[in-house]
Structures are given as C-alpha cells and as structure tokens.
C-alpha cells in the first residue's frame, strides 16, 4: 500500500499505481531520488549570492561565517527576504497582467469587457476617484492608472494599501517603517538589499520581509482580485464537482492550469463556441477542467470543475484522457511534457516567461486573445482525434462541491438572515460561542507531506470544534476532493454550534440545507478576500484584526508565494500556521523572531506544526485565548 503513503486522494492513488506500472516518473519518484536533501539548504545556511561562495555555515561548529563574514542569522534572513521577493513578484506580475487588461479595455483595444460595473465603481471610490458623470471606460482608465501607480510608483505610501488597510494597521506599519512605496521599487530594493555587501542586519532584513508581505497583500493579491472581479465578474455560489472523475473519455478534455484567468476565460469561451466542431470529430462535446488557481478562477466564476490540485497535475495527464493542457504561469511542473509524451495530449505554454521544453508555445497577447484561444481549442480537437487507442484510465472519483464564496456572496447569504445588518448574525454567533472562530486554510501541496492529508485532517478537527473554515488555492481543492465543500460535511462533521448557524444561513439563503463547513473563496490571489472579510469583521466588532478569534494556515506550503502571503497575514496581525518549516531553522534569531517576538510588533506570528491534531489544538488554543481577551 505504498500509494496510500503518498496521497490520501483515492483518484491519485489509483493513478500512481498506473504510472508505477508504466515506469513513468512522477513528483513523488523524483522526491525519493532527491533523498537525502541537503541539510545546509534545509536550514537556509548556504549562500550563493556572490562568486566568492558558495558558502555554508556549520550548524554544529566551524565555520560560523561565510567568506564575506556573514553569519547564519544574516544568511538565513537574506535568503528568506529573497524568497519573499520571489513570491511577491509572482503575485504582483499576476496583478499587472490584470491591470494592463483593464487599461486596454478602457481604451477599447481588446475584446474583453467589464462584467462588474458595481465593483468598478466601488473600487474607484475607495481609491479616491470621482465617478459621477463618467462612463465606465473613463472610470476604468482612472482605476488602471491608480493601480499602475501602486505597481510602479516610486514615492509615497502605496495607494492600494492606503485605500484598503485598516487605520490601526497602517499606524503600526508606519511606526515600523515598513509601508511600501510602489511594488516594483520594493521588489527591486529587496534584491539590492540582499546582494553581496549590502544588508547584514537580520532585524532590518526581516522588516524588509514584512514590507514584501504588504506588497504581496495589496499590490499582488488585493489588486489582482479587484481587477479580475471587475473584468470577469464577482463570484457567486456555484455548484460543481472536483477530482479526476470530472474528466470524461467521450469528450475532448481541455485542462487549464496555472494562475491567471485572462487566457483561461477565453479558452473556456472558445470551448463553448467550438462545441460543434468537437462533435463533428466524434466527441460528445468539449469538457474543460481546471488545475491549480487558474482552475479556481474559472471555478469561482464559471463553475468549471477542478480536476486536481498541484501534486496531481501529472496524474491528470496519465489518465490518457487529457487532449490538451494549456498553462500560463506558476506551479507548472516541467515534467508535464514528459508525462504527456508517455500517455497522450498536447501541452501548450502561452506566456513569454513560462516555456517548457517539449511543449507547443502559442504566445498569448491581450490583443489577439480570441484568435489564440480559438487556435488552442482547435488544437485540442485535433489532439482528440489522435487519441486513438491510447488506454484511458479515469478514476471514478468526484465529489460534489460548492464554491464562489466571495465576500460579497457571503454577505449576500447573510443578508437573507438580516437584510439591514448582514454581519450581525455572524458576529452574534461568534460572540455566543456557536462559532468558536474562523480559520483560513490556504496554499499548496508539498510532496514532503502526504497529499491533502494536512489540509483535510486539520480542517476536520477544526470544524468539529465549531471553527468556521474558509479556503483558497490548492487547499480548497484538497478539501473539495475530500467532500468538505459540501453541505453533507456540515451535517456529518461539523460541531453542533457551527452546524446550527450554517443551517440557518443556508436555509434563509434558499439552499434548502446548510452552507458547507468550508467556504471556497477562490484562488491564491483571492486570499485578499480573506483579508477583506477580516477587515470587515474587525471593523464591525470595533476591534483590531489581531484581536479577532481567527487564524490562518498553510498546511502544506510549497511555493515562495505561500511565504509572502503568510508574511502578509502575520503583518495583518493573524496567527499563521505552517505545516512545515521554511528554510530558516539554521538561524535561532530569525526563527525566534518569526515564531515569537514578531507578535509584540505585529500581533501575528508564525506557528509551525506538522501533526494535524496538534496543529488544530494549537490553533484552537490561540482562538480561545483571543476569545478570552475579548471577554467572550
């Protein structure tokens, strides 16, 4: 039963037997081949930042300093800041793509439209744009301009942060000197700061890390979500299914994988338009499924079923049923082309910064998005024709899920209970103890953890203890596959208090049953929605975010993005659990600061625990402490 050691996902377990029998290497095999992994790297005490190196610090003796004189604390803090800048850059680049699209919509240069004018107006007003008497394109142009200042402004406090962050937080950050200017300047500065012979002070480097977290939170996550909602529409609750069973052998299967919805939305549109051509080719139609966060984007707004999360991407191809996988950026395993060659299907890369040897590259541009999407979908039909006698193994595993819980959708559901004061029922139930608190589970899979295990075990424990869970990213996928994004999980697994509240809200909202115990809030950039919800809750209760009975968790973090998102959460004042440690344990000073001392400065801190039961207990202890402090 080796496959049950690798993943709790039954579909993935079935596929792993197939790849093993076929001798096709997967991420798990490569992880095994990498053992043992370097202890110096694991501890974060190697430095390659100059050509006098590489240097490494002996954690148990000499040498204690690198060639330049940097010690373990400096090296760990420097490496961490570079990682944070990497994660932040990914989200800011993502946001930039969306802003560029909005700007071109405003000038009428591209075939995209503004789907949510209300969000456009609300966003414009919040960032200080006068909207009266202007048409939506005019407003969009000004919003894009403001957004570009947030991305590339060189002076003053970051506009998107000033517009949305709670005043109390802004004061705290200002006192620490960590309020960012334009995103590009801060990311550039972090690279400079960590280059040879610049900053050696671990505290100063960690403060710069906090700044990166804020850049990610406001110029990455928040900005990307806001603009994407404006262009593609506000998510509303949708019903869908999750897991590899959503692939269908009788259809042309197109998988969208990556993170940015600009292309995947168009691909989806063209899949619908070219349905007849697929039928003419002998298929029953075109079936679109998602992987990672571009999958979440089209799930949230279009109900596209997620096929799997990060660790399952190769296994989706091993079904032999994926005719074409189109990818944009982030979390794409370079091995996908090899797996596709062993089974079936074309891999199409689309972004100039994300090419994979062996894939077809169809360059994406906003101006010609329709033509490119059409070309990609036609290629998928051609690929279907070539599927021929390729054996198709689609595991019969799919779970019903509900998704699409934007803050606006959650408040919409709550307003069915109390139209004048929608947050009141939620806050009253938190105060009464029916809801103990709330936890956001976010982030990745990590091959070091049995796939989905930490997400699922932790969340089961939390909901049984009446903790409401909100989820994004691959965490939401994991929970969806395990049935936790469905009302049945409320009935079967939630504590009585939580169950009663979710049932009352669900029935008032006309769902004919409870809300799921885990509310899927979107992609990893949609962690901004969690920030918005916390900001709204704290504002309503008249307390600061750091005082709320809430926590965040990245149970299986893998990407640098998880670190920068987590840093933003800590900067907001949130107690943030990580299921495994980042590469920082080689510095006692850095580890101690992030898991302890930082709480005095920011109100939040990191908490590392790899056992799900212990992690749940630690999180619940924190929530109870916060309740106690609030007199609840």
């Amino acid at each position: 039963m080796w496959e049950t050691d690798k993943t709790i996902d039954k579909a993935a377990q079935q596929m792993l037997k197939i790849t093993a029998a076929d001798g096709v290497a997967t991420v798990w095999d490569r992880y095994e081949a990498q053992q043992p992994q370097c202890g110096f790297g694991s501890l974060g005490i190697c430095c390659r930042n100059c050509l006098q190196g590489p240097c490494r610090i002996n954690p148990f003796g000499e040498p204690k300093r690198g060639v330049c004189g940097a010690d373990a604390d400096t090296i760990v803090a420097r490496n961490l800041l570079r990682s944070l800048a990497g994660g932040t850059a990914a989200h800011v680049d993502h946001a930039y793509e969306a802003v560029e699209a909005l700007e071109k919509i405003a000038t009428g240069d591209i075939d995209y439209v503004i789907k949510d004018e209300n969000k456009l107006i609300a966003t414009a007003r919040q960032v200080g744009i006068e909207t009266d008497g202007k048409d939506s394109k005019g407003v969009a142009k000004e919003v894009a301009q403001k957004a570009l200042e947030t991305l590339s402004g060189h002076e003053g406090e970051m506009g998107w942060l000033s517009a949305w962050a709670p005043k109390e937080r802004v004061d705290v950050w200002r006192q620490l000197g960590v309020i960012p200017r334009g995103a590009d300047r801060e990311i550039r500065e972090a690279m400079h700061q960590t280059s040879m012979g610049v900053d050696a002070d671990p505290t100063n480097l960690l403060l710069a890390g906090v700044k990166q977290g804020l850049v990610d939170g406001y110029a990455g996550l928040k900005l990307a979500t806001d603009i994407q909602d404006i262009i593609f529409g506000m998510p509303q609750p949708v019903k869908s299914e999750a897991n590899l069973g959503v692939l269908n052998a009788e259809y042309v299967n197109v998988v969208v994988h990556g993170h940015v919805p600009l292309l995947s939305e168009k691909v989806l549109e063209w899949c619908r338009k070219l349905e007849d051509e697929a039928k003419a080719a002998g298929a029953r139609g075109i079936n679109v499924a998602g992987i990672c966060c571009t999958g979440n984007e089209v799930l949230m707004r279009q109900g596209v079923p997620p096929a799997t999360n990060f660790l399952g991407q190769e296994l989706a191809l091993a079904t032999g049923a994926v005719d074409l996988m189109v990818v944009d950026v982030q979390c794409i395993l370079p091995s996908v082309t090899n797996v596709a060659q062993c089974y079936h299907g074309d891999i199409v890369t689309t972004m100039p910064i994300a090419k994979v040897p062996g894939a077809d590259h169809i360059p994406f541009s906003l101006e010609e998005a329709d033509q490119q999407a059409e070309k990609i979908v036609r290629q998928s039909i051609e690929s279907y024709k070539k599927r021929g006698s390729t054996p198709v193994h689609i595991p019969d595993e799919r779970a019903l899920i509900f998704a699409g819980f934007s803050v606006e959708a959650i408040i919409g559901a709550l307003s069915k209970v109390n139209a004048e004061d929608p947050l009141k029922p939620l806050v009253d139930n938190i105060k009464a103890g029916n809801i103990l608190g709330a936890v956001a589970t976010v982030g990745c899979n990590n091959v070091k953890v049995k796939q989905d295990m930490m997400h699922v075990e932790l969340v089961k424990e939390l909901i049984a203890n009446n903790v409401l869970v909100i989820a994004t990213g691959c965490s939401a996928h994991a929970l969806g596959k395990a049935g936790l994004l469905h009302p049945d999980a409320t009935n079967n697994l939630a504590g009585n208090g939580l169950k009663a509240v979710l049932t009352a809200v669900g029935e008032a909202a006309g769902l004919g049953g409870p809300l799921p115990p885990v509310l899927h809030m979107g992609s990893c950039v949609d962690n901004s929605r969690i920030g918005d919800l916390l900001t709204a809750l704290a504002g309503y209760m008249g307390v600061n975010i750091k005082d709320l009975p809430v926590a965040a968790s990245a149970p299986e973090p893998q990407h640098e993005k998880a670190l920068s998102i987590g840093t933003w959460a800590v900067a907001l004042g949130v107690f943030t659990h990580l299921g495994l440690p980042p590469h920082i344990l080689g510095s006692k000073a850095v580890t101690g600061t992030l898991t302890d001392k930082v709480e005095d400065l920011l109100g939040g801190k990191f908490y590392v625990e790899s056992d799900p039961a212990k992690a749940a207990a630690g999180i619940i202890r924190h929530i109870k402490d916060k309740r106690h402090a609030l007199g609840l």
């Binding site: 694991s42 148990f60 003796g61 440690p581 080689g586």
Partner: protein, 163 residues
C-alpha cells in the same frame, strides 16, 4: 565485509557527509531538532581538499591500527569479531597519542569532554550516515571485492579507449 570506501573524484565538497555524521551522533539524531535544541554534535568524517581533489576521510578501521598500539589507557580497541576500531570515551585520558599515531588524521577531539571522537560506523544504522548522505556516491558502504571489481572495470574501459 562492507567497508566505507571513497571515490575522491566524485566528491563535490558539499560536506553533507559531515553534517549527517554530526546529526547521527547527536542526542535527537534529527537535523532540525539537533539545531533547535542547540546540540553541538561533532562529525567524525572530514572533507579535505588541496583545491583539486576533495577527499572525505574517516577512520579506516585498520587491521593493525597504529592508534590502538599507541593507546596507553586501553580506550582504543580493535574488536576481532567485527574488525572495528572502537573508542571507549570513559577510558580515554586525552593524551592524544592516537592522534599523533594515526596516519590519516582520522581521530578528532570531542570539545566538551576533552576525549577522542572517531568513526564508530553508525552502530544503530544498516548503512553509515555519511554514505547515505552522499549525493554523488563518493562515499560508499560496499564490499571491498565489489569496489575493486568496479575499479578494474573502469581501468579496463580507459585502457581500451587508450588502445
């Protein structure tokens, strides 16, 4: 019988063997735990270099060990059954005669107890920690006969190429 045998040209000088050796001789036997608990375990394998060749080296467990012959307290013994040269730190008086006698410099000092430290070939493990940790196969735990056979085959290959 298996021995720890070295192929210097495969050594990239990463010192993973040293780290793994220290961890295996820590109380927790786990990297993160040993670091967090501020243990100071010491390695008994040493990567030396002359700038061209890297050589990971530890006690060779000699048949006729100079260190045992030099030891006046009986701390160093060669066990005839296992062929291992073992050190009893309780008997060691810290005279360092063995350090002077060992031609390989394979005997180190335990900084805390002022006695000697040397390779014990990881009695709790099937494979010594250094050999498991080596990412390139420079440090291997193999039968001498197999190692020399591989050497002969390599020689044969280069011999044939030269011909």
């Amino acid at each position: 019988m298996k021995q720890i045998l070295i192929t210097p040209k495969l050594c990239l000088g990463c010192r993973s063997c040293e780290l793994a050796c220290a961890v295996e001789h820590s109380l927790s036997k786990e990297l993160f735990a040993a670091v967090i608990k501020k243990e100071q375990p010491t390695a008994r394998i040493f990567v030396e270099t002359d700038g061209v060749i890297n050589l990971p080296l530890q006690c060779r467990h000699c048949q006729d060990p100079a260190c045992v012959n030099a030891c006046m307290s009986g701390a160093l013994q060669r066990k005839p059954t296992t062929g291992m040269v073992v050190a009893d730190q309780n008997k060691c008086v810290g005279c360092w005669m063995c350090v002077m006698a060992c031609p390989f410099g394979a005997i180190a000092q335990d900084p805390e107890y002022k006695v000697i430290n040397k390779c014990d070939r990881c009695p709790d493990l099937d494979q010594p920690a250094c050999t498991v940790a080596c990412p390139t196969g420079a440090v291997k735990f193999v039968e001498v006969s197999r190692f020399s056979q591989e050497r002969r085959k390599q020689y044969l290959t280069s011999f044939a190429e030269e011909e």
